[in-house]
């Protein structure tokens, strides 16, 4: 099993490999002339989806884990404490 939390070196390697594959896909798009025609949408522009995956993921992580988690998460017995769902 892969413990990427402890094994930082491996984690960085996977991150690098991930970046390289994404960059290769982008290069393939350029090579095939995907961006030769004018883009109809913002995400069809060169580098847009490449950056969107990275930035979008950060936005979601920050919103969910840093903002929403402390605001919205409670003890698991939160509703049971108000004698809801008690087994009679």
């Amino acid at each position: 099993m892969i413990d990427l939390i402890v094994d930082k070196k491996k984690r960085y390697k996977v991150m690098l490999a991930s970046f390289v594959i994404a960059a290769m896909c982008l290069a393939l798009s350029f090579a095939c002339g995907v961006y030769n025609e004018p883009a109809h949408e913002i995400l069809e522009k060169p580098f847009a989806i490449f950056a969107f995956g990275f930035i979008g993921c950060w936005i979601l992580i920050i919103m969910a884990k840093i903002i929403m988690t402390p605001l919205l998460q409670r003890d698991e017995e939160y509703y049971q404490k108000g004698d809801d769902d008690q087994d009679v």
């Binding site: 099993m1 594959i21 936005i59 884990k65 988690t69 998460q73 409670r74 108000g82």
Partner: protein, 578 residues
């Protein structure tokens, strides 16, 4: 034999026989019976209308076959077959009849052509699915089931009143209401359908009830209620602009909550909300492309979502653990589940060659084509959220991370569960690899969308691999912790519950006080009635004195005295006269 036979009725029959047969025959019935419905669905001719007259002058159009009703009935049948195989090891006959009845009712809603038949099966769906929650032995399931049926009763009542208004105005058949008039009936039916579609903020029943259902029940539940509501939105409200915003909010809301969630089934339930968001937005946009996209995504979602539920249910069955942070190393222990989960995760994330890719990208493209730039960007952002929580988080922490060793014992997974999962995985891959298998049946017009272009495939891989980098950077903090995420159900589980409890206590204490005052009044009145002398004596009313006739009985001396006095007066009178 099966020409124009209602496929929903096949499921009702299968459920009935599964209930009355011996356990061994029940298993066979559940595994094989639903396939008869598949034969029936392929023998349905487009344009078929079947009805019967009921109560002298009312005709139920219980089967109307057009492109939209057929494709939904078709996928409901496929899912019924997969679910039947997956759940056939169950010993519970109640669960068998309820799950098959639930499938039958869902198909019947899709094929219903008049409002009353539509409403009848709509309610039957809620009633049958309720027992899939209540059949679970956990105490929390009872509360969740009660909240589930309360919400669905509310939904049913909205639809009921809308239907009554429609019938009063002489409108008997189910059809698109967007052209108008946007009257009370329109809004009532829309709200009722939105509750079933789990539109935020009316969605909390879903994430509350689905994880509380039985292991096999949740697989059925993940596939039907919300998709039937999507069918209703496409049929009745296709082109309602209000739904675009609702769909985008759903897609993002579900994705964000899923990132926080620790319970496997709750996480997947939030993803139902998220994926249904794409369909709701597609129905709201109302173009041929978007409506086809929404239909295709509903079709795909039933397959990959049920597959993911089956995989998680298999893990729960084997380990008894529901929390992601207590699992790990499952890839080594349960290879079949691992492979099927990968197929499901790739499908829901829209990875090429899997069925999410051919439907999700179509809906997003339709938004862009309709000139809704922000809708398309936000739906794309929600798909990054799907990648993050299912493809990365669940896949890593459940299957690839080191085992936490918290499972007390590992049970083998029954063969029928594995077969069910494999069937789901094959369907996801088949429809994903050959999109025309699905596109040819899309009902809103020819599909002018080609998913497999270099631009689209490359864009998907760029997005997926770039999204992996922030996940890995944040990995030590990505592991969820045991906690409960507050959702909109908080309003009716805390303040509304307290309000109801307060009102109930007030009513009870008022009743008690009024009852006591009444009892005292009656008692005093009876005292007065028993002895009006007490009132004439003008004694204070509050002086409580028990009535006794002896208190008011004159003594014998008084009588003797009166007689003697009378006697002496008489003697004196007569002597004087004489």
């Amino acid at each position: 034999m099966f020409e124009n036979f209602h496929p929903g009725f096949v499921f009702f029959l299968v459920g009935f026989f599964a209930c009355v047969l011996t356990p061994k025959l029940r298993k066979m019935m559940l595994a094989c019976g639903p396939f008869l419905a598949l034969i029936a669905i392929f023998n349905l001719l487009p344009g078929t209308v079947k009805d019967f007259t009921f109560l002298v002058d009312w005709t139920s159009h219980y089967m109307y076959v057009d492109g939209l009703s057929w494709i939904f009935a078709f996928i409901f049948c496929i899912m019924g077959c997969i679910g039947g195989v997956f759940s056939c090891h169950n010993d519970s006959s109640l669960e068998a009849i309820c799950s098959m009845g639930y499938v039958g009712a869902s198909i019947s809603v899709a094929l219903a052509h008049d409002w009353i038949t539509f409403l009848f099966f709509w309610e039957l769906m809620a009633a049958t699915s309720l027992f899939l929650v209540w059949n679970d032995p956990r105490p929390t399931s009872r509360g969740a089931g009660t909240r589930y049926i309360l919400m669905h009763t509310l939904s049913g009542n909205f639809v009921l009143f809308g239907v009554i208004f429609k019938l009063v105005s002489g409108d008997y058949l189910v059809h698109n209401l967007v052209a108008g008039p946007h009257d009370t009936a329109f809004w009532l039916i829309l709200i009722g359908v939105c509750i079933n579609a789990a539109v935020v903020p009316l969605h909390a029943w879903l994430v509350d009830a689905y994880p509380s259902a039985t292991i096999t029940g949740s697989v059925f539940m993940s596939s039907y209620t919300t998709k039937v509501a999507v069918y209703a939105l496409l049929r009745i409200f296709g082109g309602t602009e209000l739904l675009i915003g609702a769909g985008v909010v759903m897609a993002l809301y579900g994705a964000l909550y899923a990132v926080m969630e620790n319970d496997m089934l709750k996480l997947l339930s939030y993803h139902i909300v998220s994926q249904v968001g794409y369909m709701v937005a597609g129905a709201g946009i109302g173009t041929v492309m978007s409506m086809n996209g929404a239909t295709a995504h509903a079709f795909s979602d039933i397959l990959f979502k049920s597959l993911l539920f089956m995989c998680c249910d298999a893990i729960i069955f084997a380990t008894g653990i529901r929390k992601i942070n207590q699992l790990g190393g499952m890839a080594k222990r349960y290879r079949t589940v691992f492979i099927c989960f990968i197929v499901g995760a790739f499908s829901i994330s829209g990875i090429p060659l899997f069925n999410g890719f051919i439907s999700k990208t179509m809906t997003i493209y339709a938004a862009g084509e309709a000139g809704l730039m922000w809708t398309s960007i936000l739906l794309e952002l929600a798909s990054v959220g799907t990648l993050l929580s299912i493809c990365f988080k669940m896949l890593y922490f459940i299957f690839l991370a080191p085992d936490k060793g918290m499972a007390p014992e590992l049970r083998p997974i029954p063969a029928n569960m594995k077969v069910g999962m494999i069937m789901g995985a094959v369907c996801c891959t088949l429809f994903g690899s050959f999109p025309n298998l699905l596109y040819q049946y899309l009902p809103f017009g020819p599909v002018l969308y080609q998913p497999y272009t270099i631009a689209r495939v490359s864009a998907m891989f760029q997005m997926a691999f770039m999204a992996l980098i922030p996940f890995l950077t944040f990995l030590p903090r990505m592991e969820p912790h045991t906690a409960l995420s507050l959702d909109t159900d908080w309003f009716y589980r805390r303040p509304l519950k307290s309000l109801f409890r307060g009102i109930s206590n007030l009513c009870i204490s008022s009743c008690h006080s009024l009852g006591h005052a009444w009892a005292v009044g009656v008692h005093q009145f009876m005292n007065v009635c028993n002895n009006p002398m007490e009132l004439m004596d003008a004694r204070p009313f509050h002086v409580k004195k028990h009535y006794s006739p002896d208190n008011y009985r004159t003594s014998i001396a008084d009588t003797v005295m009166i007689i003697l006095t009378t006697l002496f007066i008489c003697i004196f009178y007569f002597q004087t006269i004489g």
